[in-house]
């Protein structure tokens, strides 16, 4: 059966990035790969859309970045979650669960 790819809901990309970075520090390509693997192409995520989100999140202090060397010996910018980011992840996660639960209830009853 062909997979239907759904556009990512606004705001959820940040949650996906926060969750991805909660395990380890990563460069942009690594984050994109991890997200693609996790969503198994069910969600439509353009790789490039990660970067403005990463820069905005860095501006807000949720993530921090530094230049390092990648596995293929290339200079790459690595992102990691900050303490504020970890807190934000918890908040966003709880919020997501509340919203999806509420929508689920409406769909079941309405």
């Amino acid at each position: 059966m062909a997979k239907v790819r759904t556009d990512l809901m606004q705001g959820t990309l940040e949650l996906l990035i926060l969750k991805t970075l909660s395990r380890d520090q990563m460069h942009g390509y690594g984050i994109a790969q991890r997200i693609h693997e996790a969503v198994d192409d069910l969600l439509k995520v353009e790789d490039g859309s990660l970067y403005p989100a990463l820069y905005r999140m860095e501006e807000r202090g949720w993530i921090a970045s530094e230049w390092g060397v990648s596995d293929n010996n290339r200079r790459a910018k690595f992102y990691r979650l900050t303490k504020a980011g970890r807190k934000r992840l918890e908040g966003e996660r709880a919020n997501w669960e509340r919203v999806s639960q509420a929508i689920g209830r409406i769909l079941e009853t309405a």
Partner: protein
């Protein structure tokens, strides 16, 4: 105020642009390599990578805009205005001579007006960064 902050911002914007281009290029090269491992010609792999990535130049410009807002030079300028204001207050309070107190008032006025100008111009630090269209479009490394 653009006379002071403009050239610094332009230099900073160029530096940010180069860093962001390097970051995006790294991503595009890895994506191309990923596609080329599926036994498709390199040019088709590049095209597929670009399709998956999205509009490179638009993304780069958006990142530069966000990163410029954040830059320490502009934050330092705001701190400097704060320092000028405090100096003005101290000169005004402790200055005994009439001319000295006038200098204090002047410093306070300059600091307040500069800060108001920053505010009026849109509150964002990126307001002072003019768009650059002179940079070459991002290219994939064919080597």
């Amino acid at each position: 105020m653009n006379v002071f902050i403009g050239p610094i911002q332009r230099l900073n914007r160029r530096r940010l642009q180069l860093q962001i281009e390097e970051e995006l290029q790294f991503h595009l090269e890895l994506l191309t390599a990923e596609h080329s491992r599926q036994n498709i010609p390199w040019d088709q792999a590049q095209a597929a990578a670009l399709r998956r990535f999205g509009d490179v130049e638009k993304i780069r410009d958006e990142c530069v805009r966000i990163a410029s807002r954040n830059h320490p030079v502009v934050l330092a300028f705001k701190w400097f205005l704060g320092f000028v204001f405090v100096t003005g207050v101290l000169v005004r309070v402790f200055g005994t001579d009439y001319h000295v107190t006038r200098i204090g008032t002047g410093l306070m006025a300059v600091a307040i007006l500069s800060r108001v100008l920053l505010y009026v111009r849109g509150m964002t630090r990126s307001t002072f960064v003019k768009a650059h269209h002179d940079s070459a479009p991002l290219k994939l490394n064919d080597s």
